[in-house]
Symmetry: C2
Subunit: 143 residues, 2 copies
Amino acid sequence: MGVVPALVRAAFLVNAVYTESAREHGLTMQQGQLLCVLMARPYGMSELGTTLGLAKSSLSGLVDRSERNGLVRREPDRHDTRAVRVALTAAGRTLAETFYAETCRRVEKLPAGLGAGERDALAELLGRVVRDNDVPVVFLELR
Amino acid sequence: MGVVPALVRAAFLVNAVYTESAREHGLTMQQGQLLCVLMARPYGMSELGTTLGLAKSSLSGLVDRSERNGLVRREPDRHDTRAVRVALTAAGRTLAETFYAETCRRVEKLPAGLGAGERDALAELLGRVVRDNDVPVVFLELR
DNA sequence: GCTTATAGTTCGCCTCACGAACCATGGGCG
DNA sequence: CGCCCATGGTTCGTGAGGCGAACTATAAGC
């Protein structure tokens, strides 16, 4: 299989797994992504927009809904009255962590047919692609 | 980077590229996927549902919109009066092919930082993952 | 101080996705 | 043959997601 179809179909696969995992945690994929991004630290709205690749108007809605569900909180920015910092609530952090862990578990299974060395090689190659293309940190590297 | 974050973030990247390419062709990602699937042959609705991972009610709408845009056609199934075969119209095929080609071109660029051998290795590894997980053919292998 | 840029929100419009309810035909099976 | 149920699809109502345009308010530069 060529590298292009492999990439596209693998993306389709990961997407499905991610969406399914989110769904079982009462989240949509987008809400899950938001939580995962915020696990690292609070973000401003604009910053979130570029990270998630969304227009600011789209983001307002996403944060609204997540806030309504008690997962996220808008805090005033100390240094800029206009700005807002979006942060996880306690409930949001808890949910984010279990969702993150469960999603890792499932994605981990996808390359189960590969040997340990092959998994490492895949991680290294894909990691380079991610790095070279400046993909935002939509999914943490926990250690 | 671990294999899980690499997979998730690479999926995010491919998604963004795919969506952007679709957008510039006047399509949504879902409509683009539909066209790409139908490039191979006509499909029944149920068959399309399992291929794209959608509930049948979701599919009805997607096909409706694509039909309204003149990209797709519902034909009666010769052997089953209930069933329907969804096929590309001439316009749909043309658009599908240019969208497919352009999307390939863009996805091709993502691993530009890799050597030829590395790209082959990536294709081989991801191909195995795709194969092992029975990912539907949402993106053709043209030759 | 005035002007322009930046941060966010709101609005209207469309797409997407789902489940539930529904209709029609097809395929057994007694 | 006639009945029952499975299968293929559509419709409907609801809610999420996404965008651009218009708007408000504060920040920053000159």
